[in-house]
């Protein structure tokens, strides 16, 4: 507008209200100069979009991973949603360098508590019941665990990355919501 916009610019960390006076007019009532600025902005944005497509494109391997993820769509599974995550819901433990990640998933009456640390994975299915458990890291079959009559299970720590448990108990299939360990 006045040729010095770069100097006042946007102050990062502030909410971006139209506080630079006079620039807040609705697009429909813009003066010719305003229309020109709008077109200039669109062109610059498009040029930047093309630069991103060249210098920071979506890697093909990830495009393929998302296509392959369709195999994770199952009609027979009940999804247990994440209802507690120590990473978000708990205060950091003073002095604990690498505290275990505590997770709780819920689906109706069923609760799955999971603790992931560098040493391994342990957890409990409640109400207590035996189950066959598959530790998933993606669409391919994962490693298997067994929950005992009290619903308790232990296993090696899942590798860092996407993670879910598929539990088969009675005739039910329960899957914990995908998250990243």
């Amino acid at each position: 507008m006045n040729g010095t916009d770069g100097a006042d610019g946007v102050r990062d960390g502030r909410d971006g209200g139209p506080d630079d006076g006079g620039s807040g007019r609705p697009a429909g009532t813009a003066e010719p100069a305003g229309i020109g600025a709008e077109i200039e902005a669109d062109l610059l944005e498009e040029e930047l979009r093309q630069a991103a497509a060249v210098l920071d494109p979506l890697p093909p391997v990830l495009l393929q991973a998302a296509v392959d993820a369709y195999a994770l769509h199952r009609l027979d599974a009940v999804v247990a949603e994440l209802t507690f995550d120590s990473l978000v819901d708990a205060l950091p433990v003073r002095g604990a360098e690498d505290p275990p990640r505590m997770l709780t998933f819920s689906a109706g009456e069923v609760t799955v508590d999971v603790e992931v640390s560098a040493h391994g994975l342990m957890g409990q299915l409640l109400p207590p019941r035996p189950a066959r458990i598959e530790v998933l890291g993606g669409p391919r079959p994962g490693s298997s665990l067994t929950a005992d009559d009290l619903g308790r299970f232990t296993g090696a720590a899942p590798p860092s990355g996407p993670f879910a448990l598929r539990l088969r108990t009675g005739g039910d299939v329960i899957e914990t919501e995908w998250l990243r360990t």
Binding site: D5, P18, V54, H73, A164
Partner: protein, 212 residues
């Protein structure tokens, strides 16, 4: 450093902007088809909205490894919930919001935090994405690639807020403001004015360097 490998000629044939465009009005129908077993519909969703998810992840400046894992987690969760998405036409916003929350978890988990300054990681990304490098020969292409490189550098050096907003806005195909809002947790109404100011700021930086 990487100026010799920037395929500016790829402008005319960037695989992520062509062929996979999901019309926003069709997303709901595609999601319903995919939930019903149509793998082609799923692929169309991925091609149309994958770049948006990638932009959200990149806007949060995750390391390459974190970015890859978050990106996959978002799609795994979407596949898992495919039949339960309440508003299929807002799938873009659902994906953007899920990506944002996973990014914030990564940033919170400081022990994992590394910036994308590792040149090996950057190289890996650029190798992944630029199969058209052999097209780069003409002087014109070299000048163009220099311009692209400079623009990207000025963009990277914008303040965090502008860099983050623009990184999401320049996903291809361009996201809706609802999707941008979901990606960054900012009100739809503030996006337009902020966008204008960030682009002005970028232009001023480019002009100051004599690059416009």
């Amino acid at each position: 450093m990487r100026s010799g490998t920037v395929p500016s000629a790829a402008y005319d044939d960037v695989p992520y902007t062509r062929g996979g465009t999901v019309e926003r009005t069709d997303v709901g129908a595609l999601v319903r088809s995919a939930a019903g077993g149509d793998a082609a519909a799923w692929k169309a969703i991925v091609e149309g909205l994958g770049p948006l998810v990638w932009s959200v992840v990149r806007a949060h400046r995750l390391s390459d490894a974190d970015a890859h894992e978050v990106y996959q987690t978002v799609w795994f969760r979407f596949a898992q919930n495919l039949g339960r998405i309440r508003e299929p036409e807002k799938t873009g916003a659902w994906l953007a919001s899920t990506a944002r929350h996973e990014c914030l978890k990564v940033l919170r988990n400081a022990r994992r935090l590394t910036l994308t300054d590792d040149p090996r990681l950057l190289d890996r990304v650029s190798e992944d994405g630029t199969p058209e490098q052999s097209l780069l020969e003409a002087e014109e292409a070299a000048a163009q690639s220099e311009r692209v490189r400079r623009m990207w550098q000025e963009f990277e050096e914008l303040g965090d807020r502008c860099r983050q907003l623009l990184r999401v806005l320049i996903a291809s195909p361009p996201p809706s403001y609802q999707e941008v809002s979901a990606a960054l947790g900012i009100a739809v109404g503030s996006i337009g004015p902020l966008r204008q100011r960030c682009l002005r700021r970028l232009r001023a930086r480019l002009e100051a360097r004599g690059a416009m």
